[in-house]
Symmetry: C2
Subunit: 304 residues, 2 copies
């Protein structure tokens, strides 16, 4: 087994989801799940998270089939985190029906020795205090990407600002960018985020793609137009995971805008596959050739 | 004066608009106004519309400074069409405060002799019965682009379907595409529109750009990220007008996807200038060099 170049922390859960396409329960979910599965197409990836004693062995086997390093996975007595939600007809707006934190409520992440010097870190969407706690266990100067959500902006802003200050890149969606910065225009939002510390910010716009901003300028990243969406859950995590996996795999001397754009384009494409089925089901049968074909297709859709 | 290669029909009005940036009245507006002004940067453009006896001479002079051919402009006894509206904080959602049709209520467009053989026609957003009436006066086989809006989809669908059947390209926004086709996924919407007759459909997504679809495939057209929006009114008309003007100017042997993409990119850029001020005020001081610089900037934002 090669050494982990990227590790990802976040939630691991069992989901019950209703979309206009179907209704499903007992789904392997959580930000770590989606992001690690997506990253695994490009690099050796480690997961940091917690599951309960009810977590099915079959789910662990699915991680292993993706080649995900589970040294950072804790198993604790008690129930696994559970989430259930229902999507509206647009496949975008969703309502949470129920959240059961289970063992996630007392999660105290410990970074395995083997992960501590990994050059790429994705702090997925969990409380910023946990993100800080795990970041303190890092050695060296990894490239740190932080994801977050509206909840933390509302209830844990001081800790979130600390994490953001230590991030190389912050990723968040357009609504979150507006909430965080109190501005509406996304360029102003981006500038306000950069003033908080990170060199880069990626504002995600769902089916409309994403925008990368830095002192060097703006990059527009298209979304691949998906014909048949089945379940959009985890699209942002797949995007971030594949983006980081691609970055970690390139072994480039330095990270520049061009490399970040290519990485984000791959994120966009892997996310477009992810939403074609529930949980990681589409990713489980996804091939490198399919990814490459869709990257080329997306490139040619945008060529002017 | 060179011969008109493109003519545009639509509304001409006097607007009163409130946006989060400012409140203004007695503004030169209407789809013909915005589209002709935008097209005039690329080709000799004719306007077809009606104004009342109260229409200020200063507004006619503004058309003339754009070099717009006014042979198709009727002046009728009575008041000019007036519209007033207010935009929400997002600069997108708007509420109509008042509409006064005035002389527009009895508009019966007559196509000037000099316009009848023009190779490019933009049927701007007016009732489909008027669009059909003027299309019947055309000679030859021009490239016909049709714009429409939710109102006509709701109240004049049979006539609208006739116009669409005779269009080479239909342009409409995402909400209108969904309303027209009864589908949600934009690729399915596009396919349903193509089945109605046109070879091309352009689905506009405002600040998120546009999508061109045909039997040959999909093109994604980015929007230029605008720093300071002052008034978004007429953005779609500027987009369509500049797109058609660019097409009309190329004198290409045939129209293909590549040419359409370049034309749409120019539409995107001119629209991005248009929203930086009220009415056609930004376009009045816009230069060809500024357009070209922003086209290059937009291209480099999207290069992967």
């Amino acid at each position: 087994m090669s050494k982990v170049r990227l590790w990802i922390i976040g939630s691991i859960g069992i989901d019950a989801i209703e979309t206009p396409a179907a209704q499903r329960g007992e789904l392997l979910g959580g930000s770590v799940t989606y992001a690690c599965a997506a990253a695994s197409f490009f690099t050796r990836t480690g997961a940091v998270g917690v599951v309960g004693s009810d977590f099915p062995t079959a789910f662990l086997e699915r991680y292993q089939r993706f080649g995900i390093d589970l040294a950072g996975l804790q198993t604790r007595q008690g129930p696994t985190f559970r989430w259930s939600g229902v999507y509206e007809a647009d496949f975008i707006n969703r309502r949470t029906l129920d959240t059961q934190l289970g063992v996630f409520a007392d999660f105290s992440p410990e970074l395995p020795e083997a992960f501590q010097e990994a050059p790429f870190v994705l702090l997925g969407n969990i409380g910023p205090a946990l993100q800080l706690h795990v970041l303190d266990q890092v050695r060296g100067q990894p490239f740190v990407v932080v994801d977050t959500m509206d909840l933390w902006i509302r209830i844990a802003r001081p800790e979130l600002e600390q994490v953001i200050r230590r991030a190389n890149l912050l990723t968040l969606n357009d609504a979150e960018a507006r909430l965080l910065t109190g501005r509406h225009n996304l360029l102003e939002c981006a500038r306000a985020v950069l003033a908080m510390g990170p060199q880069y910010v990626v504002i995600k716009k769902g089916e409309h793609g994403a925008m990368l901003c830095s002192a060097a300028g703006i990059s527009l990243i298209p979304a691949f137009p998906v014909e048949q969406v089945e379940d959009p859950t985890g699209a942002g995590d797949c995007f971030a995971g594949a983006f980081m996996g691609f970055l970690a795999n390139t072994r480039a001397e330095r990270i520049d805008e061009g490399l970040l754009r290519r990485a984000l384009l791959h994120g966009s494409v892997v996310a477009s596959f992810g939403v074609e089925a529930f949980s990681t089901e589409r990713l489980e049968r996804l091939t490198a050739a399919e990814i490459e074909a869709r990257v080329q297709a997306l490139r040619s859709m945008c060529a002017v």
